[in-house]
């Protein structure tokens, strides 16, 4: 048997013999995992609730854009103080009137502390617990979807939702920004000027970083979701944890702990607007998110694969 044949055998599970791997195929096909993921995505994104969450996220940049427009229509360019929603966040908002692209950064800075993670918390918290609550989990498991694979498909779906949610905010902000404000070259935080194309690229990069910043919350929500059979309880717990951590992050006495809060480095995405880009905090942020994903992902796996499904 040639080497090529051996490889072939290993990769294609169904009978390598001339015998037709028939239709009522009883062999699992590795692409099936993607079929499960696709089904998962279709199910998630056809929910009215998911669409409502995305609608709320899309509305935030519209509100911010209109508010800035009204605020500055009397001629006072820049707005008072320009403290974006994010506390320590950079004053992107004061630049919005000069360049609509800044509305993208502003909108992400406004939604990242609460709206985005809340939406993730709802989707992640409901992912397993909601199915358990509806009883559909038992039918998925006897199908048999496989506990590990189902969990992976769920986590992948939540991550994709993170990306979609962030892009919804970004695209909505870009549209509103283009409609209400001029577009063109922009000034970075460091004071240098970059072209609009370069600016768009950075906006996309920022959106990706923001989406990645949410993977920690997503893993946390997934873990909480494996603990209970009530979707509402899981969602509430996840969002509650999110708010608690945000509050603790503001208490100076806890500064020793704060670097380990998943939200601590969230606003570091602004560093992508520096020239040259300042990577330190970004790296810390992404590393922390990976740590959360690993820890809570493993916890979710350990819990879900051993749990008695009684609902």
């Amino acid at each position: 048997m040639s080497r090529a044949d051996t490889v072939d055998d290993r990769n294609r599970t169904p009978a390598p013999t001339p015998e037709p791997a028939s239709t009522s195929v009883r062999t699992a096909n590795w692409t099936w995992t993607f079929g499960l993921l696709r089904s998962e995505l279709l199910t998630t994104f056809r929910r009215w609730r998911t669409l409502a969450l995305l609608g709320v996220l899309a509305a935030v940049p519209v509100l911010v854009g209109i508010a800035v427009k009204i605020e500055t229509s009397d001629g006072s360019s820049g707005g008072p103080g320009g403290g974006g929603g994010g506390g320590e966040g950079p004053a992107f908002i004061s630049q919005v009137t000069n360049n609509g692209l800044f509305l993208v950064f502003t909108a992400l800075a406004v939604t990242l502390p609460f709206f985005l993670p809340m939406a993730i918390g709802v989707i992640a918290g409901d992912s397993i617990a909601g199915e358990a609550n509806a009883g559909t989990l038992r039918y998925l498991l006897v199908a048999p979807a496989g506990r590990t694979r189902l969990l992976l498909a769920k986590y992948a779906t939540v991550m994709i939702f993170c990306l979609v949610a962030t892009l919804v905010v970004a695209v909505s902000a870009l549209t509103v920004g283009a409609l209400l404000f001029p577009l063109g070259d922009l000034t970075t935080i460091s004071g240098t000027r970059i072209g609009f194309g370069d600016g768009l690229l950075r906006a996309l990069l920022i959106a990706l970083v923001v989406a990645a910043s949410l993977t920690g919350v997503a893993a946390l929500g997934l873990f909480v979701s494996t603990l209970t059979s009530s979707g509402i309880a899981a969602m509430a717990t996840t969002v509650g944890l999110l708010i608690t951590v945000q509050i603790l992050d503001q208490i100076p006495q806890l500064h020793a702990l704060q670097p380990y809060f998943f939200s601590h480095h969230w606003l570091s995405f602004a560093d992508l607007m520096r020239e040259p880009v300042y990577w330190d905090d970004l790296e810390k942020n992404l590393g922390l998110q990976a740590l959360y994903a690993a820890v809570f992902g493993s916890a979710a796996w350990a819990r879900f694969t051993t749990r008695d499904i009684t609902a």
């Binding site: 072939d8 294609r12 169904p14 009978a15 390598p16 015998e19 037709p20 791997a21 028939s22 239709t23 009522s24 195929v25 009883r26 062999t27 699992a28 096909n29 590795w30 692409t31 099936w32 993607f34 079929g35 499960l36 993921l37 696709r38 089904s39 279709l42 199910t43 056809r46 929910r47 009215w48 509806a134 009883g135 559909t136 038992r138 039918y139 998925l140 498991l141 006897v142 199908a143 048999p144 979807a145 496989g146 189902l150 051993t306 008695d308 499904i309 009684t310």
Partner: protein, 374 residues
């Protein structure tokens, strides 16, 4: 994503969407040596389609048992013993009725068999393989309806089935739509297939749940209360469906509260109470275990009762115009009893032995009928 994998070139096989192809219609396979020497069981399939012998089909049949448990026990975390040392054997090809009052541990047993709950002690083999360890190989051959249907209310009936089918690793995505349509047809839901499942009536949900169990040809169907919520017509349809499936060689494991339903469709039955298995075996034997009642219809019940007692009948019950007693042992000729009655001047209108129903057997066993176990 989405498109099926590029398979090694294979000619399109004529697709059969007719439902369950019995894969092992009672093929007796010699008990294999425990060390898995993979002796492939080649099973005849009455379709132009040849089922490839794969790991999952290579199921050693445990002396013909489709389900076999030994000392299966589940103690919940609260300390409550839900199932206590269950030794259950479900023969291949049987329609097996699983009876018991509410709270007797039936559902816990089914969940352990399906790998949803880890047993505290004991072992369970389904289709000859250990559960829950071999769940991936076993479950594609098992269709289930556990504790009623569970559906995605915001999806249509058809989309619900597509979703469940996508969760089955052995389900071919290329035939998915055809199989779903055929199954909807089979359970009589074609007209309502596009409606959102939350608008379904209980009976329709039950049918859709059943459809999900029938998406693939199955070797075993586990149906927990399948006629719940159905109208009489629906119940009859389900019963005939079960008979049809059984005739095709599918083993059906049916839990139900409706004793006459079990009696009508089941070949075997087991009775549970308070987590323990009281009895199991062919339905005819179970009912035979309880003796029938001798019923004498007469205008002279008091005299009849006296004569029967004189003749040694036990448990004589006096009625308005009838007397019943425990049927005499088989060695006693009933004609002699009748002659004794007549010669004592008792006018006899009717004289018959009523065969014990499964319900009698059940009440005799559990001593309580169908009350919730404390």
């Amino acid at each position: 994503m989405g498109e099926p994998a590029r398979e090694p070139v294979r000619e399109p096989v004529p697709e059969s969407v007719r439902m369950p192809v019995p894969e092992s219609a009672g093929v007796p396979v010699p008990e294999p040596v425990r060390e898995p020497v993979p002796e492939p069981v080649r099973v005849p399939v009455p379709e132009p389609v040849r089922v490839p012998v794969t790991e999952s089909v290579r199921v050693p049949v445990d002396d013909g048992a489709v389900i076999h448990t030994r000392g299966l026990t589940k103690r919940y975390r609260g300390g409550q013993l839900a199932v206590d040392g269950l030794d259950l054997t479900v023969p291949a090809g049987s329609v097996f009725g699983f009876l018991g009052p509410n709270g007797s541990g039936k559902t816990t047993t089914i969940r352990m068999l399906m790998g949803l709950i880890e047993p505290t002690a004991g072992s369970a083999r389904v289709l000859g393989q250990p559960m829950p360890r071999a769940a991936r190989a076993v479950l594609p051959h098992v269709g289930t309806l556990i504790e009623g249907p569970a559906l995605y209310g915001f999806l249509s009936g058809r989309d619900n089935l597509l979703r469940y089918d996508a969760a089955d690793p052995t389900a071919d995505p290329r035939t998915r739509r055809a199989r779903v349509s055929a199954t909807l047809e089979r359970v009589g839901l074609t007209a309502a297939a596009g409606k959102k499942a939350k608008a379904y009536s209980l009976g329709m949900k039950q049918r859709l749940g059943l459809a999900a169990a029938l998406l693939q040809p199955r070797r075993l169907l586990v149906l927990d209360e399948p006629t719940n919520g159905l109208d009489p017509q629906g119940m009859r349809e389900i019963r005939s469906l079960i008979r049809e499936l059984a005739a095709e060689g599918t083993t059906v494991f049916l839990s139900s509260h409706l004793l006459d339903e079990i009696e009508q469709v089941c070949t075997h039955a087991a009775v549970m109470a308070q987590g323990r298995l009281l009895v199991q075996g062919p339905v005819a034997d179970l009912a035979a275990g309880t003796r029938g009642r001798l019923v004498v219809t007469t205008p002279d019940p008091a005299d009849a009762a006296r004569v029967l007692k004189e003749q040694g009948a036990d448990d004589v019950v006096l009625g308005e115009d009838r007397v019943s007693a425990e049927a005499p042992p088989p060695d006693r000729d009933l004609a002699d009893l009748n002659a004794a009655l007549v010669s004592a001047g008792v006018r006899v209108r009717g004289f018959a032995v009523e065969r014990a129903s499964l319900e009698d057997a059940f009440v005799a066993l559990t001593g309580e009928g169908f009350d919730v176990a404390g």
